[in-house]
Symmetry: C2
Subunit: 347 residues, 2 copies
Amino acid sequence: MAATMREVAEAAGVSIATVSFVVNNSKPVAPETRRRIEEAMVRLQFRRNMVGRALASRRTRVVALVYPAIEHKLGASGMEFVTSAARTASAAGYHLVLWPISNDAAELTQLVGQGLVDGVLLMEVQLEDARVEVLRATRTPFALIGRSGDLRDLVYVDIDFDATMQDAVDHLRGLGHRSMVMVTGSQADASFRAYGPYVRAEAAFRRIAAEQGFEPVVLECEQTTQSGRAAAEQILASWPGTTAVLVFNEFAAPGLLSGLLRRGVCVPQDVSVLSVLTSTEMSTSVDPPLTAFSSPGAELGRLGVRALLRVLEGEAAPPPALLPGTLVPGSSTGPAPGGGSARERHA
Amino acid sequence: MAATMREVAEAAGVSIATVSFVVNNSKPVAPETRRRIEEAMVRLQFRRNMVGRALASRRTRVVALVYPAIEHKLGASGMEFVTSAARTASAAGYHLVLWPISNDAAELTQLVGQGLVDGVLLMEVQLEDARVEVLRATRTPFALIGRSGDLRDLVYVDIDFDATMQDAVDHLRGLGHRSMVMVTGSQADASFRAYGPYVRAEAAFRRIAAEQGFEPVVLECEQTTQSGRAAAEQILASWPGTTAVLVFNEFAAPGLLSGLLRRGVCVPQDVSVLSVLTSTEMSTSVDPPLTAFSSPGAELGRLGVRALLRVLEGEAAPPPALLPGTLVPGSSTGPAPGGGSARERHA
DNA sequence: CTGAAAGCGCTTACAG
DNA sequence: CTGAAAGCGCTTACAG
């Protein structure tokens, strides 16, 4: 169906090298010659074959998105992330393949060995990650979404947990809440042990609490509605004076909210709930809609691919990008009860 | 790094053809020769290069998943679907690339012209779909997730809307509800006009209503919480006797529920809400958790890829598969008010 | 500015 | 059972 370069060359009465030069615009070609070639390309419906090009140039222009197959919930914004990554690749003339694989090194080794991809975008990085070692050992160019423990020579983009947590705490402090409880994800699960986001968000919270002089209470909880509800119970039982809860656990947040409401606690009149790094779908599906800092999913996908492509093109590795979440107003946060707001801020 | 076939051949003292025969197990090879070759492959860490293979065999073993970039919400189960598709492809030795593209023909034409993929899995098919025409014209093997209007010679898998709606209605009838209101997605949006799922689900509902002798009330509503809430208002205002609502609109369902609750309507005591083709994340995030028929996302991805691969392998096109949703019990449905349940069923 | 030629890493008739 | 050779569709020094 589609014509080859050879056919175009014959039709235009030139060598295939010259056709290649105009297709890639890689060498000067006489105007008249170029015209003949372009005419032939259009007439014969020439489309450059990526496989031939890949073999000859040793660059496939395909990159892989590697993530854990047992998707512990990429969150509701998973598709948004992935789509944004694919479109960014596409705009640069690349393709994105999906490699949802186990966390161990064997499968990744096998896949990169096939020579299909020029580079890898690695997600859900653990602090010690066998996959990073595979990529290093095989000299596969790669970039990370997230960060491992050892950042030497790593190209990555990640969420700015410090900034996001700071913004979140500030939001609640601004409403007059003097202290707050943080609900985070469970690290009991082996695959979440030392899961970067939880570790970093909690560390940020503790640091900020120390700076602002309140006692940091941190509650771990699984990523389910049920666990969120249990967390609500525990907060009411163990820290009855709580006026604000900061949740970094998208799938527990709805349960936390309904757990409070079921106990007759009014949100936000009695207790404010602020959800951090949550999809808009989740925030708006509950009642009252959650005030939240939305996850910069699409932006991470875009920047992650961009960073990887820059490595592939041999340009200077881009500096690590850290993106904060963006406040999406809802109805689950409000002034601290007791009119403490104004007093607190001027104290 | 990775050895080539030529290097293996030299190390084993054979021709590269023979190496190819053992790698592909495509021709008989003497045991002793095979042993030498296998030893050399292991020693030199041979990994067959997919690009060379693709060029020579004219099969890339890459397939594309094509879906609308303006993702009108593949739903919360989007990642699950996509991951399942990628893993199914992987298990068969294929790779899955993501092509989130506009709905028009130009971009798809350009992409298939690159010769990167052996076939295409097409999603969100419209009743008249320019993309199907592109695939036909370019003789690109393809399979559909969903169905276009004209099914001649089409390989597809889809949700079984008839069976799912029947199950849903039966569930509510079994609880004593004599009639019900259906809330569906908005078809006002141009890109959703004649959107297969809405058309088919509504048709099934009307047919069943006629069979069972109740008046089918159908309400269109946008895919947002807000619209769901408005739908609740409208139901209470226009059809105050309603005891059961059947929602086929994942992102409106939470709003419908909270809209009822806000009006003091108890769910399920006063009104039952049954959500059809919804992700579990959504169903469980609201309070009360929704009784729902879950979307067979992962299964669709698996069967869709399988169907496409069968076409690629030149096997008989598999018969169209239609999958129903599965009932996931929640707390949003219950007996019809007025103790009608038992009476109704024996009447 | 253009072309002849080698080569990217494989597969596959064809011959023996 | 094995090998020599052509070829898949391109790119890229090299020469002129």
